[in-house]
């Protein structure tokens, strides 16, 4: 399919809805105070970009998400290794991990703040915790799902334990490691923006909340759109990374 056709096939519905909204708002069938026309939202977005407000907000949100993710992935990875090495620890940790995993992350913010104080550290810690939990659950599942046949095969050819970890367990788990990274990145983004709405004076979440408080609906829509685009971009990003690092999964006969 040609690029133009590809774009047309995917975006005609979205374009149609925006056009209808534009017409309805311009003719004042929709109240423009509540539903400002997309053209106005676009103008506001451009103004926010020019004034640097958008850049500052994006920077704050991406930094928070990135640092939290980094800490969570590294921490989660280390914990996963520990749990794989010691089955006894794994059994004991399982109820704790499951309980934490099923608690809505945002509800833990007050408790995290009791520990780390009313500051940036708490926000990062919560994002890291959320990412770490995804990593721990996914990786320990993946390690347990590695087929005994492949371990036997490597053993039969004289592979040592270290070689088996590097040549069998690691590549066998790689697809699920990427799934875990994609999942926890999406969640970290959502969580960061939610935290910013509740307790921050910068970032996309904070922009959304202050636009709501001052009833600046054009700014509100513009900021929400930016948040949506951030979420949308993580999918293709990880798709590309996966194609590069897990080639045996993307190629088909």
């Amino acid at each position: 399919m040609r690029p133009l056709q590809f774009i047309a096939a995917r975006f005609w519905l979205l374009a149609l809805l925006l056009a209808v909204w534009q017409v309805l708002a311009a003719r004042r069938i929709l109240d423009p105070l509540f539903f400002p026309p997309p053209s106005k939202v676009g103008e506001t977005l451009a103004a926010m970009f020019v004034s640097g407000e958008l850049g500052r907000g994006l920077y704050a949100t991406l930094m928070r998400t990135g640092l939290g993710l980094l800490a969570g992935v590294v921490g989660g990875g280390l914990v996963s290794i520990l749990l794989c090495v010691s089955p006894r620890l794994r059994t004991a940790a399982q109820p704790l991990v499951s309980a934490l995993y099923s608690t809505p992350r945002l509800t833990m913010l007050p408790m995290v703040m009791l520990v780390f104080g009313f500051n940036e550290m708490s926000r990062l810690a919560l994002v890291a915790l959320s990412a770490g939990l995804v990593i721990v659950i996914q990786i320990s599942d993946a390690v347990r799902a590695v087929s005994r046949d492949y371990v036997d095969l490597a053993t039969n050819y004289g592979a040592s334990r270290a070689v088996i970890v590097r040549k069998v367990y690691l590549p066998a788990c790689l697809p699920q490691i990427f799934t875990a990274l994609r999942l926890c990145t999406g969640r970290a983004l959502v969580l960061t923006i939610s935290i910013e709405m509740m307790s921050s004076n910068n970032g996309i979440g904070s922009m959304i909340w202050s636009a709501w408080q001052t009833f600046a609906t054009e700014k509100l829509y513009a900021s929400v759109m930016v948040a949506a685009c951030l979420g949308l971009l993580t999918g293709p990003l990880f798709h590309l990374l996966e194609r590069r690092f897990v080639p045996w999964r993307s190629v088909q006969a």
Binding site: S147, D149, Y150, D152, L153, T155, N156, Y157, G158, A159, V163, K167, V168, P171, A172, L174, V246, P247, W248, V251, Q252, A253
Partner: protein, 259 residues
């Protein structure tokens, strides 16, 4: 290398105690011999090969590996029925895996893997991943890896069972040709009596599970052989005897269970 097995017993735990898989199984391989086990399904053939490969310890009895003077690489390698290629390695990397484990440098092992793949009619497939290969190609790659590692004994667990008739014949011929070069000992397992006659020097018949050796036959055919082995009167007779042994073996086991 020769394998000497004495009074092997293997059982697997189950919800109702334990299920015996091998019962008092003894045999010895000879140097450079192509030995085949035939037996009904569930006779413990796979279990036996896993014990011989050292992947499973027997509950009782022992497996001795008696090395000769020209066994440079005293390994015993298994070609299993399926899941025997790493999905994350290309065909060439899979073939070269044994050499990699032996510490052969990348350039040399890749060159040798490519040469062998080309000989087996897999030229151009070196960079393909296993999920891009046909069943026949996958088994070629698995067999190639085993031969390239040059083990002292090769164990083959129904390597052609999942293939269609023509592909199977081609692969049988390829294995015969590769094997003729060095004539290392092979322990082969199949439920196909004609395949057993075609490939082997000696055939051992296993009883229905728990498996034990119930009959032994020498195959009176010349080497090198062609995959379209002419079944002369003597070989037909052998086939008839083996089938009869299999029938009796199944009967014995049922009788033992009924008692």
């Amino acid at each position: 290398m020769r394998l000497l097995c004495t009074h092997l017993h293997v059982s697997f735990p189950s919800s109702t105690g334990s299920v015996p898989a091998l019962r008092d199984l003894s045999f010895a391989t000879r140097d450079g011999e192509f030995l085949t086990f035939v037996g009904p399904s569930g006779c413990g053939k796979t279990t036996l090969l896993r014990v011989l490969a050292g992947l499973l310890s027997p509950g009782a009895g022992r497996v001795e590996r008696i090395t000769g003077p020209d066994d440079h690489n005293p390994s015993v390698l298994l070609v299993s029925q399926e899941h025997n290629l790493f999905p994350w390695m290309t065909a060439a990397a899979n073939v070269a895996f044994g050499l990699e484990m032996q510490g052969v440098l990348r350039n040399e092992r890749e060159a040798r893997a490519q040469e062998l793949l080309a000989r087996l009619g897999c030229a151009g497939k070196e960079r393909a991943y296993p999920n891009q290969l046909s069943m026949g190609m996958k088994q070629r790659v698995a067999v190639a890896r085993c031969f390239l590692s040059d083990p002292a004994v090769m164990l083959m667990d129904e390597p052609f069972a999942a293939l269609d008739f023509q592909t199977r014949m081609v692969l049988q011929q390829e294995v015969l040709d590769l094997w003729e070069q060095d004539r290392k000992s092979v322990v082969f397992v199949t439920h196909d009596v004609e395949e057993a006659i075609l490939l082997s020097d000696r055939i051992l018949v296993l009883s229905e599970g728990p498996g034990t050796v119930v009959a032994e036959y020498e195959v009176p055919a010349q080497r090198p052989r062609r995959a379209l082995l002419e079944m002369n009167g003597e070989l037909w007779e052998l086939k008839r005897h083996i089938l009869e042994s299999l029938r009796l073996a199944a009967g014995t086991a049922r009788y033992a269970c009924a008692r």
